[in-house]
Amino acid sequence: MGLTCTGGDREICMALSGEVDHHHARGLMTEIEREIDRELPKHVTLDLGGVTFMDSSGIAVVLRCYKRTAELGGAVTVKDVPPQAEKVLRAAGLERLMRFA
């Protein structure tokens, strides 16, 4: 499980890797919030290409990223979502809140 952050100038990319389940969720959320608070992004790209598994805890992680970014007036794009994770995120209708690239 990991989070890799790149970018700057209020345009950041956060790449998640490994399993996004309850066991890993709190650590991920803490790091994501810390990064958003530091960079104050206008736009966040959440790269899920390295996610090997996700359950509804992942919904909470993605939603937290969305809410914190939206509080700053920014937007989130989710990209490279693997099929298993996409099925879970779409079960919550998240494609209505943010762009899936």
């Binding site: 309850h22 359950d55 909470a60």
Partner: protein
């Protein structure tokens, strides 16, 4: 109806066991020659049920969680997750999408995902005694290469 194969695993309500439980269920289901999509659906549903037990059943201690896997004729897989914890006072309410008694780290989508990803879902609970979640999924028979 008697099962043709069974396996039962019991573990502590530690979050580190969530990955173990879903992998164990996937390994057991492998004998049915499922597709990757079917395996992913099973792993996700098991993850939700086991996580519910770990997060909610034992608020102030560690407790037991039992994962029972049963295979019936015609490729029917039955998965039961049982705990002996606090139980659910209102099961219908608990099964409502987005409802959670947890904090903002929880999405309240666990039962919704179990219902979507499995064929059937049954939840039985008695406050103070525990909760049993039973899910079933029939794995599709596939033609082997050559159409036999």
């Amino acid at each position: 109806m008697k099962p043709v194969n069974t396996a039962t695993i019991e573990f502590l309500s530690r979050s580190a066991n969530e990955g173990f439980a879903r992998t164990a269920a996937a390994c057991f289901a492998a004998q049915l020659d499922p597709t990757l999509d079917e395996i992913n659906d099973i792993k996700t549903a098991v993850s939700e049920a086991v996580t519910n037990a770990i997060v909610h059943a034992y608020p102030d201690r560690l407790g037991r969680v039992k994962l029972k896997l049963r295979l019936f004729e015609d490729s029917l897989l039955e998965i039961t997750v049982q705990d002996w914890g606090v139980g659910i006072a209102d099961v219908a309410q608990a099964r409502t999408p987005l409802f959670t008694t947890g904090n903002e780290e929880r999405s309240g989508m666990g039962f919704t995902i179990m219902e979507s990803f499995m064929d059937t879902l049954r939840v039985r609970s008695t406050p103070g005694k525990g909760t049993t979640v039973t899910m079933r999924r029939r794995i599709a028979r596939r033609l082997t290469a050559g159409g036999k």
